[in-house]
Each structure stands twice: as structure tokens, then as C-alpha cells.
């Protein structure tokens, strides 16, 4: 071979070798020395860490109906530093997203001035808005998936469910108290993308943990009726607020919990609208008034020898209690214990309380669950206010006996009512359907509970009962107690003439399936008593509840007669018993009590005038041998009453009078009998 050519070839080989060596060196630098750096760059470019949303758990009612649920929602983000024309961008985005273009432009400009490459344009937009934005196909518009909480029934059970803030953290109701369970934990997924940003491989880095669904004991149908009826009555009486608790006395399930005013949890809180978000049924203690006589009489049946037919001295409408004169709303010389409850005599209740004694009464107040929280998973629950026995004054016994000097919540009252309805057991309320039922605690003997049921039924059945006109159900027996308590004015430090009108009852009497407590706050006048105000709400909600639960009727369905006697609807528990101790709901101590007396006495005198005027209308006006209403009365009462009127009576069955013929109010022909059917 030509040596010259050989040299050339050798030269070429050397050059090629050097070239290859350089390439190899560069490759080693790129792939070995700087491997991690370039691998990271490649990963940044090709791989994307996507968040796997863990939706917040839904809240369901006892039948699985959704009360709250979460849906994914997209939010719009832009990088203002990449936006080509700020004003045009603001115009376009504002038009699609229904925003103010000027404000958006200002935000964009501020972000550019501050060299910020991230700006939320609008969060949680609709799908239509997202589709319109996607159609623009602009690379500097980014979508972030978030979650939006929906309450499809709007204000239904709003106080129980609560609401969430923008980050989907609960800020009220079970949304707050069960936030840990409801809130899911988002996962992460690594997605590998091609040059067109299409993912072609993915691996889950962290498994998402979706929030758990929470099933409540609430029955949305009963809840709906409860809210409707409560709102109707609050509006009718121009009251300030109202609360209702409906409970199953067998399991403690809260079937409905309603408050007025209410709110729509879909809407963010408005200034001044926070008060409407307060769950008054669990967080606002109030003086219960006459409904509390149920507790007093129950403790009397347990600790004394008093029976329903025992005659109680009612002092002709007044009593001197340790130097203080207390007046009743109506004048009674003496009433049977059952009638003390039916007519809601304050003096009778005080005298019964005196026989029970402060120690026993306090013990039963505690046994019935007052003064401590029920333990429902609701934020802000109040335990009520029960003054320790050592701080009771001489007149405290009288006050507590008729439901004053004590603060209770509607929920506590419902819990206490289950003691009567469940045959003597205190049943803990339950709001979660999957929560274990707390073993009930016996508070009353079964016979005491049954006796109390009968006496409470008398409040509804007896024509003079305070709940006779308003709490009777078609086709069902019912029992209850009305209550009208004066409201204490914390600023003026005196009782006002506004009332807390309450009704506490259950149905059916023999095998109660529903316990309902209704409290309407801020009623006025005679129409604002517990009977005409709260008892109709009980009647409507109980009827709807029993129908929804398909409870068999225990009475023939007939229109109840109003009876010939005028029902005594006035059951105001005269709050001012001249006690020197301050109001139990006031934190300040003794200093102001003495100053309050003149004002309170004046109010009391005014109240008496009103009450005496009403008494004039409540007198019997029998005109000849009319048939009285025996319904709800025991055999002995019927015999006594019939004998007093000279009416012959024929009996069948045992228990209390359920039906009679002729109907009450009819004139009995000479030689005829009144047939009365008794039943349990």
C-alpha cells in the first residue's frame, strides 16, 4: 500500500479515536458523573406527581338519605408572569367566570408587580365554566381539582350536620365533632407523561384514605315536619327562637333536632348570622318551668307515700315559703297529685317538693341527667346549670320544684322524659346509628314510671288539663306536660313577661315510640303559654313520626271532643319566689339580688292581675245534668265525680277511662246511664 495513504489512514484513525474518546468522555460525564442531576431533570419533565383526592365522607340519615356529600370541583389558576396581555386576559376570564374584570386585572397586575407566578382566579367553578375555559386551550391556565361540600336538603337538620369552611374542615355540628372520621387523606400517584403530556404509566405512591360516611339516627322525614311546624309556630307567636328534640325512648336515637332560626349550610356565614347557626337545643340552657314538675312528682312517688290520688294543699293560690309569699296562676284549695300535674299548680308542686325534701329532690335532679352533658357528638353542648345542694337557699326547693333556679337544655329534657317513657330507665341519647347503645340506667321503679305515664296522660286527656286542647292525637294515646317559664333579663336582672313555652311529651302511652320536647322562646301573652304554643307542634310532629314509623294505632281514629270544661292553659311557673339568691344562669353573685326585688315584685303583681282576670273565665258553667268528660280518669275518680253529679255510671275494663257514651257535654236523659270503657 502506498505509504502516503497508509499515513493518511493512520491519521484518520487517530482523529476518529480522539473523536470517539471525546464523545465517550462526554457520555461518561453526562451519564455517570452527572447522572443524578440529569435524571432528576428528566423526571421533572416527564413525571408528574398527581394528588389522588380522598373525598370527605357523606352524612346520611337513618335510612341512607344523603344529608351532606362532597363532589370534586375545579379551581382556576394562572401564572401571571406568563400571561401575554393582562387586560385582555382579565376581560376574557371575567366574562367566562362571572367575575369583575377590573378587580381581576388589579389582582393580576399586583401579582406581576410582586413577581408572583401563581394566582387563584376562581375556586370551585362549575363544570360549564371549566369546559368553556378548557376550550380556550391556553397553556397558562391551569386547573386544580378541589372538593365542594353540598347539602342537598339545604337547611334540613342544619344545626345537627353543621357546615365546613373553605378547606372542608368542619366548623359546626357533626361536621366539626366528627371531622377526623369524615375527612379523608389524599393519596399521591406518579404519572409518566410523553411529549404531548399524555400519561402512559402511573404508580401509586401513597394510597388515598377516603373519609368515612357517617350515618345519623336522624329521620329526615320527621326532621322536615319538625322544622316546618316549629318555624310555623315561632312565626305565628312572633317568638325569638324555638327548639325541638324528638327521640326514640327505646334506643335513645335522636329522630329530629330542629332549631329556629336556622341557616343554609351551603351558604358561607354572613355577618350577624352566626346566632342562627347555634344549636339551641343542646347549647342554650333555660329555666324549664312547669315541665319540670314531672321530675318533682316522680321523685315524690319514689321517696314519699304520695299517690296520684293523694290530696295536696294548694293554699287557695298562695303559700308562705320561709317568709316569702308565692302566688299560683289559679286559685285551688286542694288538688289531687294527678290534678296538680294536670292543672300545673305551682303551689301544689311546691308542697310536693317540700315533702320530697331538698336532698331527695337534688338527688333525682341528678339522676334524671340534669347538670351534666349527654355526650352527643355535637360541639358546644351545655351540661345545663344545677346549683350544688350546699348552695341552695331555703326557697330553692320551691323554685326547683316548679322548674326555676335550674338551667336545662331541650336535649336534657328529652333525655329525662325517656325515663318515664321507657319504664324508669335513663336512656342516653344517640346521634350515630353505628354508635353502641349505652346500657340504660334505672332511675325510677317501673310502677312509678307507669304511674307517671298515667298522670302525664291526664294532662292531655283531662278536659281541664293544660295540654287537653292541643296535644291529643288522632288514633293514638299521648301524654305530656306543658310549661311556661318567665324569661330572665340578664341586663335588667329581673324576670320579664316573655315566656319560654315548652311541651314535653310522648306517644303512645302504653308503649312509647317517640319522645318530643318543644321549646319556644320569647312568646308573650296568654297565647304564648306552653299549651297553645308548643303542644300543637308536639301533636303534629308526633303524628307524623308515628305515621312514618308505622306505629299501630291504639285508639279509634275519631275527632276528639273538646269537653265541657274550660282547659286551664295558664301554667306559668311564677319565677320570682322572692329568693335572695341570684338567678342560676347569672354568673355574678349575690350583690344584685336585693336590688331586683322591687321591680320583680311589681312584675309579680302585674302578673297576678293578669292571672286573676283569666281565672274568671275558667270557672265551671254546668247547666243541668250534663255528662262530664271522664276520659283519662281512674275508676275511683270517675266514681267520685259521677257520685257528686248524681250520674249513674256503668263500667267495663280497668285502667283509665278511654271512651264513654254519651259524649261529654250531652244532657243525660232521666233514667239513663253513662257507659265508660276503661283501658290500660
Amino acid at each position: 500500500m502506498d505509504p502516503l495513504a497508509t499515513r493518511r489512514v493512520h491519521m484518520l484513525v487517530r482523529v476518529a479515536f480522539v473523536w470517539a474518546a471525546l464523545i465517550a468522555a462526554r457520555l461518561i460525564q453526562l451519564q455517570v458523573v452527572q447522572h443524578s442531576q440529569y435524571a432528576q431533570l428528566a423526571r421533572d419533565q416527564q413525571e408528574k406527581l398527581e394528588e389522588i383526592k380522598a373525598p370527605r365522607g357523606a352524612i346520611l340519615d337513618r335510612y341512607g338519605q344523603r344529608l351532606a356529600m362532597s363532589l370534586p370541583a375545579e379551581s382556576v389558576v394562572v401564572d401571571p408572569l406568563r400571561v401575554p396581555n393582562l387586560s385582555l386576559t382579565a376581560e376574557v376570564l371575567a366574562n367566562i367566570l362571572n367575575l369583575n374584570a377590573r378587580d381581576l386585572l388589579a389582582d393580576l397586575q399586583a401579582a406581576v408587580d410582586n413577581r408572583r407566578g401563581f394566582l387563584w382566579v376562581k375556586r370551585k367553578i362549575t363544570r360549564q365554566e371549566a369546559n368553556r375555559l378548557r376550550a380556550l386551550n391556553l397553556e397558562w391556565i391551569e386547573f386544580r381539582t378541589e372538593s365542594q361540600r353540598y347539602y342537598p336538603n339545604r337547611s334540613l337538620a342544619a344545626h345537627v350536620i353543621g357546615s365546613v369552611d373553605f378547606q372542608e374542615d368542619g366548623n359546626g355540628g357533626v361536621e366539626q365533632s366528627l371531622n377526623q372520621e369524615l375527612q379523608g387523606h389524599a393519596g399521591e400517584m406518579l404519572v409518566t407523561e410523553d411529549v404531548q403530556k399524555r400519561g402512559f404509566a402511573s404508580s401509586i405512591q401513597q394510597q388515598p384514605q377516603p373519609g368515612q360516611d357517617v350515618r345519623l339516627t336522624i329521620d329526615s322525614r320527621i326532621q322536615f315536619v319538625a322544622e316546618q311546624e316549629l318555624a310555623k309556630m315561632v312565626a305565628l307567636h312572633h317568638a325569638k327562637s324555638g327548639s325541638l328534640v324528638a327521640m326514640d325512648p327505646r334506643s335513645g336515637d335522636i329522630l329530629a333536632m330542629a332549631n329556629v332560626p336556622t341557616f343554609d349550610p351551603n351558604e358561607p356565614p354572613k355577618p350577624g348570622g352566626i346566632a342562627a347557626r347555634e344549636n339551641l337545643a343542646v347549647s342554650a340552657p333555660f329555666e324549664p318551668g312547669s315541665v319540670y314538675k314531672v321530675i318533682t312528682l316522680s321523685s315524690a312517688l319514689e321517696t314519699t307515700r304520695l299517690r296520684p290520688e293523694s290530696m295536696i294543699n294548694c293554699g287557695n293560690g298562695s303559700i308562705n315559703l320561709f317568709g316569702r309569699i308565692i302566688h299560683d296562676h289559679s286559685r285551688y284549695a286542694a288538688l289531687s297529685m294527678a290534678d296538680v300535674l294536670a292543672r300545673s299548680s305551682n303551689i301544689g308542686a311546691i308542697n310536693i317538693g317540700l315533702q320530697v325534701g331538698d336532698r331527695n329532690l337534688y338527688e333525682y335532679v341528678r339522676k334524671f341527667g340534669f347538670g351534666k352533658k349527654t355526650g352527643l357528638p355535637l360541639p358546644g353542648e351545655s351540661g345545663g346549670m344545677v346549683r350544688p345542694l350546699r348552695r341552695w337557699e331555703k326557697t330553692s326547693l320551691g323554685s326547683v320544684a316548679m322548674g326555676h333556679e335550674i338551667g336545662v337544655t331541650a336535649l336534657q329534657l328529652a333525655q329525662a322524659c325517656t325515663v318515664i317513657a321507657s319504664g324508669g330507665f335513663l336512656v342516653r341519647p344517640r346521634l350515630r346509628l353505628d354508635a353502641p347503645v349505652v346500657p340504660p340506667v334505672r332511675v325510677l321503679r317501673p310502677e312509678t314510671a307507669i304511674t307517671m305515664r298515667g298522670m302525664m296522660e291526664g294532662v292531655v286527656l283531662k278536659p281541664y288539663g293544660t295540654g287537653h286542647k292541643y296535644a291529643r292525637l288522632l288514633g293514638y294515646t299521648s301524654a305530656g306536660k306543658t310549661g311556661t317559664a318567665q324569661i330572665y333579663d340578664y341586663k335588667m336582672r329581673q324576670y320579664t313577661h316573655m315566656y319560654n313555652a315548652s311541651f314535653m311529651g310522648f306517644a303512645p302511652v302504653t308503649n312509647p315510640r317517640i319522645v318530643i320536647v318543644v321549646t319556644i322562646n320569647g312568646t308573650e301573652g296568654t297565647a304564648g303559654y306552653g299549651g297553645p304554643t308548643s303542644a300543637p307542634v308536639f301533636r303534629e310532629v308526633a303524628a307524623a313520626g308515628l305515621r312514618e314509623m308505622d306505629v299501630p294505632k291504639d285508639l279509634p281514629e275519631m275527632v276528639p271532643s273538646e269537653g265541657s270544661e274550660q282547659a286551664d292553659e295558664n301554667d306559668v311557673a311564677i319565677a320570682d319566689v322572692g329568693s335572695s339568691i341570684p338567678h342560676p344562669l347569672v354568673q355574678a353573685e349575690d350583690a344584685v339580688a336585693a336590688d331586683d326585688r322591687p321591680v320583680a315584685s311589681a312584675n309579680k303583681a302585674l302578673g297576678q292581675r293578669v292571672l286573676l282576670a283569666r281565672n274568671g273565665n275558667s270557672q265551671h258553667d254546668l247547666d243541668g245534668p250534663r255528662v262530664p268528660d271522664f276520659q283519662g280518669q281512674s275508676v275511683r275518680s270517675v266514681i267520685q265525680r259521677a257520685a257528686a253529679l248524681g250520674i249513674p255510671v256503668e263500667f267495663t275494663g280497668s285502667g283509665v277511662a278511654r271512651a264513654q257514651a254519651p259524649v261529654p257535654g250531652a244532657i243525660l236523659p232521666s233514667g239513663s246511664w253513662v257507659r265508660v270503657q276503661f283501658g290500660r
Binding site: P3, L4, R7, R8, M11, P55, Q65, R66, M69, S70, L71, P72, Y150, P152, N153, R154, L156, V191, T192, R198, G199, F200, A201, S202, S220, R221, Q223, F224, Q228, G475, A544, L546, R547, D550, V551, P552, K553, E557
Partner: protein
Amino acid sequence: MATLATIMDRFTAANSAAADCSRTRVLEDADPFEVPRFPNEDVYFYVKHIDNSHVLREVDPGARKTCWRLIGSSFTFAVLVIGLLLPSVNRMMAGYRMEALRQERQRLELDRASLELAETKLVSPARLEELARIQRFVDPAPEAVVYLDANKSDAILAKK
């Protein structure tokens, strides 16, 4: 003229003396077939008459075997390459499909949630109450409601 050959010759100038002598010797020999040289170039072209009309192709018995071996090895190589690449390609295609399905699932879940929300709104007590009011429905009596089980006797009862 600056051709690659002259450039390389400059690098190899030290050893060029002997080459120059031989070249001179060649140039000095008159050659009738020599093409006139280009100026300043040491590239020479010759025209040579070749008559291949009498050339016969020799039959190579091993050529066929070599050819088949080449075809076989190429096929094997192709199969190996495809066999090695196919799973990766398949995996990538499946990845695309999976990602598409994942997005489809997300969309369907969103649709389902939206439908559940719509359903809940439709059966809300407030709406049912309003519909019942419009239709003038009345509440059934408690014992008047009959719940049918999915058994034969109830089905017959329902038909009646």
C-alpha cells in the same frame, strides 16, 4: 489548491522526500495513457481499456449456504429484537389505555356523584311535600300502608 490530500501532505512533509523522487521518476516516464495533470495536483487519472467479455463467473457452492445463513441470522435477530421490544411497547400502549381508563373512571365517578346529588335533591322531603301538595295527596293512616315483599302471594295481591 487546498484539497484534503494537500493538507494531509503538509502534515506529512517530513517524510515526503522519497515520495517526491519516485513521483518524479514516474512523471519522467512517458505514458501514452496518461491524462494531462491538473495544475499543482498530484492526482492522476488513467483510462484503461478492460475487456470482460471473456470473463466467466465462477460458481461458488458455498454462496447459497452463506446467503441462507445470513437470512436466518437476520430473521433470528429480528425476532429477538421484536421479542425484547414487544413487551415494552405493549406496556406503553397498555399504559396509555390505563391512563385513559383512569380518566374515564374519574369522569364517571364525578358523573355518578352529580347524579346522586341530583337524586337527593329530587327526593328531598321539601320537594316531595311540594309535589304532594300540588297533587293533593293525603297522608296515609299508619296501618293503611302495606309493604309488599317479593314473594308470590304478595305479587298476586298487588295485581288484584
